[in-house]
Subunit: 341 residues, 2 copies
Amino acid sequence: MATKWGILSASKISHDFVLALEKLSTEDHKVVAVAAKDISRAKDFADEFGISTYYGSYEELGNDSNVDVVYIGALNHQHYSLTKLMLESCKPVLCEKPFCINAKQLDELIKLSNAKKLFLMEAMWSRFTPAYQKVIEVLQNGTIGTVLHVQVNFGRQMSNIERIWKKEVGGGSILDIGVYTLHLVDTILGPDKPVFIESKGTLNSHGTDENMSAILEYPEGKIAVISIHTKVEMDCSAYIHGTKGTIKIHEPFHASNKVTVNTTNNDTSCYTFVQPDTRKPTIFPNSVQLRYEIDHVRHCLKKGFIESPVVTLNNSYTVQEIMDRLRNQIGVHFEDYDTSP
Amino acid sequence: MATKWGILSASKISHDFVLALEKLSTEDHKVVAVAAKDISRAKDFADEFGISTYYGSYEELGNDSNVDVVYIGALNHQHYSLTKLMLESCKPVLCEKPFCINAKQLDELIKLSNAKKLFLMEAMWSRFTPAYQKVIEVLQNGTIGTVLHVQVNFGRQMSNIERIWKKEVGGGSILDIGVYTLHLVDTILGPDKPVFIESKGTLNSHGTDENMSAILEYPEGKIAVISIHTKVEMDCSAYIHGTKGTIKIHEPFHASNKVTVNTTNNDTSCYTFVQPDTRKPTIFPNSVQLRYEIDHVRHCLKKGFIESPVVTLNNSYTVQEIMDRLRNQIGVHFEDYDTSP
C-alpha cells in the first residue's frame, strides 16, 4: 500500500519535493493532500500536481485521517510550530532543513515525538544521495586512510532573496546553507561533537548573517573548515582529506552527481550518478534527488521506526547546537525565537 | 654588466635557484661564488653549475668583493644569522622564505638594512610569477568586483622530512608552507593587517606544527581562510571570491602556470603561462619561476632601491607577525629563537 503524504505548504521546495516523489512508484508513494494558509495557493498546487485534497489551514490537514505522514516545506520560522502541530495531530513528520531556529525548539520536538512515539526526521536529503553513500562506503573501506581534514564551501549570490535576508522568517546563511556544510561534516567526522568551534562572519543591516567561515575541531585533532556566503559565488565542492588519499564531492556537494577519489598511490576513481529528469524543471538544482529521502521515510514507517537511522535526531540536534554557537559567535540573535521555543 | 650572485648555501632550493637563473641572460646574471659549511658540498655545487669560486665558510663569501648580492637558501633557522652576517659584510641580501623564525628577528634585520642602506628582500618568488601579476591586473580592472573572501590550501604529505618536523631548524607547517598562503592573502587583502586571527592545528611529538587552519578577518569584513597540512595531500589551488566573479589560481597556487577568471555574467577567461625547461629537473615544482624574482632583484639594485616595491619589508613583517600569532595560538614555541632574536 502506498505511503500517503500530506504537504505543508505550497512552497518552492514542496514543488520540487512532489516532482521528485513523482519519480517513485505510485504503488509506494502518493500525495493525498496539500495545505497552505492561502487556500488559493493550496488549490493551485493541488491542480498542478493532481492532488485530490487541499486545505486553507494546516489544522485541517493534520486532522485528515487519510494522511500517513506530513512533509513540512514551509519557511524556517514555521518548522517548529508546524512540526509540533502535526505531532500533536498524531502525524509522523519529515521537516525541511534547518529543523528549527535553535536547539531549544528542537529539543522540545524530539521530546514530543518520543512521548507520542511518532516518526520525526529532518529532511537532510544530501545524506541519502548516492554521492554521500559512496563517500561513506569509500571511508569505511579505508581507501583514503584516516580523515584528518574536511573542507567545504557553499557560496551563492542570494543575499537579496527575502528568505535569506529576513530575520523574521529564520533567514541567514548559517540556517539556510550552513546546515548542509555542517551535516556533511557530521557525516564524516561525527557523530562526535566538535571540541572547538571558531567563526567569523558579517551581518546585513537587519542583523542577519550574510556569510560565515568556521573552523571546527573534532576529537584527535581532526579539522573541518567551512565557508558559506550569500554575496559571492564559490566552487561548492567538498574535499575530504585522508592520510591515504582524498575524496572530492563535486559541486553542488549537497546534491552532487559526481565523486572523485584520489589515493596517494595515484589511483583515481570517478563515480557519476545519473538522475532521471523530472516532468518539469525543479526550482533548486538536482532536487530530483529528494526522492531518496522520500523512499527512506517510507522504509522507516514500514519498519515502525520513530527515528531515521541515517539522519538521526542526535545528528540533527548536534548540527542545531553548532548553528546556535556559530550565530552566537558572529552576533546573530533571533529575538523572536532565541529567548523561548 | 651582469649582477654577480653569491649563493649561501648548497641546498636544494639553491640548486633550483641557480637552474632558474641559468634561464636568464648571462649578460644580466652570473653566479660567481657559493659557500657551504662543508667545503666539499660547496665544491660539488660549484662543479655542477660551473661556478668559479667556492668557500667552506660563509664569512669568506661575505668578504668576496666580486659578489654584488647574496642569495640565502639555507635552512630557516639560519636565515636571521646569515642575513645579518651578510648585511654586516655590506652585501645586499635576497633571503629565502620564511624570512626569519619570528618578527623580532626580522625587525632587527630591517633596522640593520636601513642603517646600512643595503637592499634586503624575502625571496617570496610567488609574488613575481605571471600568475600573481595576472591576478593583480584582474583585481585592479575590477573584473571580479570587491573581493570578500579568499580561500587557499597547501597540503602535502611531508611530515617525515627533517626540514619540516625538526624544531631546531625552524621547521613546521606554518613557516614552511603557511608563509605562501599568508603572502597570497597579503597580496590580495593587504597590506592592511588582519583585525582578527583564529587558528587550530596539531603538533608532532617534537612540538612542531603538522597542520594549521586559520580564519583571518581583514577590514570591512573581508575573510581569508587558509589550511595547511603536512600529513594529507590537498588541492593546492587558491580561490579569490569577489562580488562580480571568482579567480582560481590553479595548483600549485604558489608557483602556478594557470589562472581562471569566472564572472557572474558567465564569462570565463583562462590564462596559461608557459615556462621554459631547465637544463635538468628542478627539485621543487615549477621552480623555474624563481627567475622572475631574480630579475626583479637586479632591477632593484640597478635602481638603487634598498627595498623591493613588490615584496616590501612591511609585507614580510606583517606575514611574520601573523605567523608568530598562529604559532602562539596553536602552542608552537621555538625555545631557541622566540625568547631572543
